[in-house]
Amino acid sequence: MSRHGGFSLSRWWSIVGKEFLQLRRDRVTFAMIVGLPIIQMALFGYAINTAPKHLDTAIISSDNTTITRSFIWAMRNSEYFKFVGELPNEAAGREALAQGKVLFVVSIPAGFTRQLLRGERPALLIEADATDSTATATAISALNGITQSVIQKELTGPLAPLAGAPAPFEVKVHQLYNPENITQYNVVPGLMGVILALTMVMMTSLAITRERERGTMENLLAMPATPLEVMTGKILPYIGIGLIQATIILLGARFVFDVPLFGDIGAVYLVVLLFVAANLTVGITLSSLAQNQLQAVQLTIFYFLPNLLLSGFMFPFQGMPAWAQVLGNLLPLTYFNRLIRGIMLKGNGWIESWPSVWPLIVFTLVVMLIAVKTYRRTLD
């Protein structure tokens, strides 16, 4: 009996082989696998600038006076910055930036006001996470105006002489991770997730509905292959395709757009595999819902659009309204974007990556459960 019911490696392998043969004959699909990443990279290599507001900012304050409070108030008033908390020291600030909890950390050094009044031109330090340079650039350029307004407001009366040029204090901006504000740094790694999400979901949902639509599923179901063998055998080739696409983009990133890779290349591929798994489970679930290939494509697009728009790829995540962020936080691409940008541009390791890794794992497990539950073992 176990011969019939259990998982048979040779049967599974024959399904994998068949899928490869069919894929090899399907020129259009093949062109899409290779062409999509290349065309998208060319198109999105030059992204549109946007000016998001209310970006999460943390503060490390070692000097709490009227002047520093006025500066913070002016930053908040500009609407570009939103203060979300106070951190004890620089290390905590760096950590918050690396994990993507905040985009800016404002450090006010001890004795800032005293030095200012003595005319020593102290410096305020603002560290910015510039990976998503479209998000931070406008806010940073607004800092000049903010500084001026504080000077005019606070340095009046007896302090007025300090207000002359040069400015009595300095605002030093450290752009971390992407100091030159190159949008490609952000867009190109993000593109990897977009392309993987689209092709993985579309290909798997099509691969399974195609069998149903052409009537070959009836044949397959009448043979001794188990649903698990069929399902996993059919999707294995697409894992390979995902890795090929990721490699194309990594090569493009490296050699065409000069995007640095600070993190571990192994970590990049591990994260890619995890993301591919998440999307394959989505693809299988969609294939159970779709009656035919057209519906499979429509469902794929239905899934893909929010991923594209709300994951922080198109628009900076921090700049989206709260409800959109909530939705975005349910999408695997959001986490993948954070992971891949973090690893490539910040050199993040496992500790910094974990907050985005576990949601992906949970997502995959939950959707896999749905996929297994909805998988049709019969023609009903």
């Binding site: 019939h4 019911g5 024959s14 082989g17 004959r25 009537g215 070959t216 009836e218 001794p224 019969t378």
Partner: protein, 315 residues
């Protein structure tokens, strides 16, 4: 594991029911097919033949009913059934974008056939397709697709064949060869359930079942099925049979009139009334009438019209 209780029967199902939405597609069907028997499954389009066959090999779950296939429970042991049954679908269901050789090789791998390459090569040679083994299956003509599918579903030497209109679109010579082969297989102990619309094929079956609108109307040998209906038949030969048919249709005792190539067949339940009507009609014309044995086709057409009131609206 085999169950001794049903050792005689390759198929033994009772009270199968299946609904699609509101439609009662299979209604209380019970079938018994002995080992080594060729069992013909007949019925008009949409009568539920394919649906019944699918339930037997675990492709559809019956709403109710039970039974065994080769001793395995059709509800719980479909995995085991699939290993020893060869099912040929009505619609061509092999992969158009694989070659003939690749299709057969895939099937052979899935069933774990020993000596795979040789078996596949031999099967292709038997089909007479050796020169075209590398042709895509989708490029075959309809009849050749059918023949390839048939060969594929017999590749693993199944003990039971479920064939859903296997010879639809196949030329007469190939059809005869196929039936000769089926009879050879049956003689060696393999059981066959075959659905068909061809009367010559029906008459080559050991047993027949006739289904209409999901209900099994008759079951048994061809002679039994004919006898069950109690029809007497006359054949009328001559000219202008269509006019004659219109006249006869409304005469007492006439339940059915059909024009065949050789003449007008008139059948009815009431033999005496039928004879009187036939004799009266031909009396003053240059026509010849003879009492004939009721044929299978007469019976099937009679059964089909008799159940027309069960018709629930086809889609």
């Amino acid at each position: 594991m085999t169950t001794a209780a049903n050792a005689d029967f390759a198929i033994d199902v009772q009270g199968l029911h299946k609904h699609f939405g509101q439609k009662h597609v299979v209604n209380n069907v019970s079938l018994q097919v002995r080992r080594g028997e060729i069992f013909g499954f007949l019925g008009p389009n949409g009568s539920g033949k394919t649906t019944t066959i699918r339930m037997m090999c675990g492709l559809l779950k019956p709403d109710s009913g039970s039974g065994t296939c080769l001793g395995y429970d059709i509800l719980r042991q479909s995995a085991a059934i699939k290993c020893s049954v060869g099912y040929m679908t009505q619609r061509f269901s092999f992969w158009d974008d694989l070659t003939i050789a690749e299709n057969l090789d895939f099937v052979a791998r899935i069933y774990g056939i020993p000596n795979r390459r040789e078996t596949v090569r031999q099967t292709i040679a038997d089909l007479g397709l050796t020169g075209r083994a590398r042709q895509l299956a989708g490029e075959l003509s309809g009849g050749w697709k059918q023949r390839m599918a048939l060969a594929a579903c017999m590749l693993h030497n199944p003990k039971l064949l479920l064939l859903d209109e296997p010879t639809a679109g196949v030329d007469p010579k190939a059809r005869r060869d196929f039936w000769d082969e089926l009879q050879g297989l049956a003689a060696s102990g393999i059981s066959v359930l075959v659905s068909t619309h061809y009367m010559d094929e029906a008459s080559r079956c050991h047993k027949l079942a006739y289904i209409a609108y999901g209900k099994l109307l008759a079951q048994g040998t061809a002679a039994e099925v004919i006898a069950q209906q109690n029809l007497s038949s006359w054949a009328i030969y001559g000219d202008r049979l269509i006019e004659l048919q219109n006249i006869l249709r409304n005469q007492p005792g006439v339940d059915q009139t059909v024009i065949f190539g050789d003449g007008l067949h008139v059948s009815g339940l009431d033999a005496a009334a039928l004879e009187r009507s036939v004799q009266a009609v031909i009396a003053d014309k240059a026509l010849r009438a003879a009492k004939i044995d009721t044929g299978l086709e007469d019976v099937f057409i009679y059964m089909m019209s008799g159940t027309a009131d069960n018709f629930r609206g086809e889609t």
